[in-house]
Subunit: 216 residues, 4 copies
Amino acid sequence: MSKFPERLLAGYQTFMTGRYTAERARYRQLAETGQEPHTLVIACCDSRAAPETIFDCGPGELFVVRNVANLMPPYEPDGNYHSTSAALEFAVQALKIRNILVMGHGRCGGIAASLDPAAKPLSPGDFIGQWISLLKPAAEKIQESSLMTGSERQTAMERISIRNSISNLRTFPCVKILEDKGKLEIHGAWFDISSGELWVMDKDSGDFVRPEVEVA
Amino acid sequence: MSKFPERLLAGYQTFMTGRYTAERARYRQLAETGQEPHTLVIACCDSRAAPETIFDCGPGELFVVRNVANLMPPYEPDGNYHSTSAALEFAVQALKIRNILVMGHGRCGGIAASLDPAAKPLSPGDFIGQWISLLKPAAEKIQESSLMTGSERQTAMERISIRNSISNLRTFPCVKILEDKGKLEIHGAWFDISSGELWVMDKDSGDFVRPEVEVA
Amino acid sequence: MSKFPERLLAGYQTFMTGRYTAERARYRQLAETGQEPHTLVIACCDSRAAPETIFDCGPGELFVVRNVANLMPPYEPDGNYHSTSAALEFAVQALKIRNILVMGHGRCGGIAASLDPAAKPLSPGDFIGQWISLLKPAAEKIQESSLMTGSERQTAMERISIRNSISNLRTFPCVKILEDKGKLEIHGAWFDISSGELWVMDKDSGDFVRPEVEVA
Amino acid sequence: MSKFPERLLAGYQTFMTGRYTAERARYRQLAETGQEPHTLVIACCDSRAAPETIFDCGPGELFVVRNVANLMPPYEPDGNYHSTSAALEFAVQALKIRNILVMGHGRCGGIAASLDPAAKPLSPGDFIGQWISLLKPAAEKIQESSLMTGSERQTAMERISIRNSISNLRTFPCVKILEDKGKLEIHGAWFDISSGELWVMDKDSGDFVRPEVEVA
């Protein structure tokens, strides 16, 4: 019978002897008082784009929902289950979170799939196809930008998608109301997994710019 | 207009001067060759239970989907979008991942909600209510265990839910086929956010036990 | 004709040359003045769960009654002989003991027997069956928890039984009166015979938690 | 609200850093394989007469039932609950124990109560009175031995009681059958809590003698 992966046990041991030992009091406190994260991050499942790593955040800081291509679907109270909407509702209404960050990244496989007109279903259920269809109108437009290279279309779509998700966030009444009252701020960012660069979205123009940060 | 959170910029700076600098070659490589994570982790959004932290994993290792209460819904190819199912499909069929870990944790707010018969919708959309209803039959049974304390029911439900999600994984044909062929292994774990202890699921009995790990 | 077991004689020799020699004055004193133990412990006969060992207590400290599954029956002044009730009466009324500890443990054979619907009498007298029937109502409820594994039901029942015994203690008028006056304290604990961990009962919630104890 | 006794937590800490650490492998093994104690000891609750201490026995060795005055009642399959009989049945039939030791001791409060014609009930339930009445016929006889001092009657009764309990053991069919087949041995001992001396019962005569043991 298969055993628990050695890599994970070894990593857990490192965590316990290192980080956990150093932050033991904090873990106990968080267990007792409950979590009060400052930011909800909507990020991608991609193994190269973990928010806790990129933002060097510790336990208790980030409430993180991760799905393929870090998409926020629009508000659809239709009685079906919507996991990302549920996470948003919990963060905003129960945890009273003050910041939402939609974080995309370069070389996103989900975005690449949205731009591939020949993409075939990965399985009969075609879950990725259905999920990515949230981007369909935008993706179809970008596919027509034949003067841009494949990579330029990819990067453009990644950023368009972030802006799209931010618009979708505002279709949720609780989000809109709290944002208008100044109790909630929405941010966007895009992480270049190759160079490690973080590009932050300017809220007026929607442009992605590099912030003034001392990194060397 | 509001600015990008200082805490995140400061954390990003620490990341760049520290980890990224140390792993620069790895990030570049991963960007070029693409990701080959060894494990798909289905984890909770909870700010105290990030898999990369707990398993001390670096870029490229873990493909992580995070939702409230780390639930894996059952296979439902009904044409609606299912974000967790999409992530699973992508991991198994596109990334050819070899391990799936369903990781739950103590003091889970989503599990607590499932056990609260008086829980009111957090918003008119009641997305959490719908999402958590995936646990409804089991939660109703556990609610009747009046001889157990509230905490005991909570822990029991957290573990029952992990076993339930693992069963749901096996309703996906691609998962079942690959597991039977020995090409995919499914694991369960439960993280005690207070003590830092990791409990690993025994595949025969479904019990959660502590592995032999030297942590001091 | 059979001889006294060698193992016991050898152990006695070790006791005499070691502990007794070191505590000789104490043994003599206790013989002269009589015993004034600080705690009555209701423990199991199990060879792996001796209170003196677990609490490193010496002569004169613990008044210990041990029966199968560390049960305290309810108050029944019916003229029959009740050995555990007699020990309780002696400890509280004659020795004026100030603390009562009900101590259960993991892997308890008596508790396992209570959860086994197919358990057959061990002898025509079926003394275990009768004794364990003190747990019958609770055991029947727990047996129905089919979503829990066998081990989870076992641990749950061990703890429910401790809480049940503590309730039974309070059906004894002398216990209730003294506790209400602040002259008697009742405690619960559960010992994990595998890991050596001691879990102490929280008096408000009835939960079993690990106390802050430096053990390494 | 009262806290768990400090003395017990401190003792537990000593146990964990000392004995448990040294015997960790043994505790784990015993948890996995189950207990196989070599001796059932019927001992007194008295805080000065713990079998594990006197025989320097570790986890897994002794299955211990302790009641006031280490009495073994006679076989009474009447449908009531009998805790000492249940422990005996479990030890002999389930654990297949090979040795039974009835261990009495000097200055036994329960024996003293049996010899006190003026003893009043300690509480309306008079559980001690009922329990000790198992010794009534013998105690009444000894009370008449006016030529012996109080202490001599006490010691005499303690030893008579051990022989009486051994006779009662033999009223249990399972015990008698196994003893006759040579699969079970019955022993008696009496511990002088003042001098630390162990007196062992000669099986032919019933006398208590000191065995040849090097104790200095």
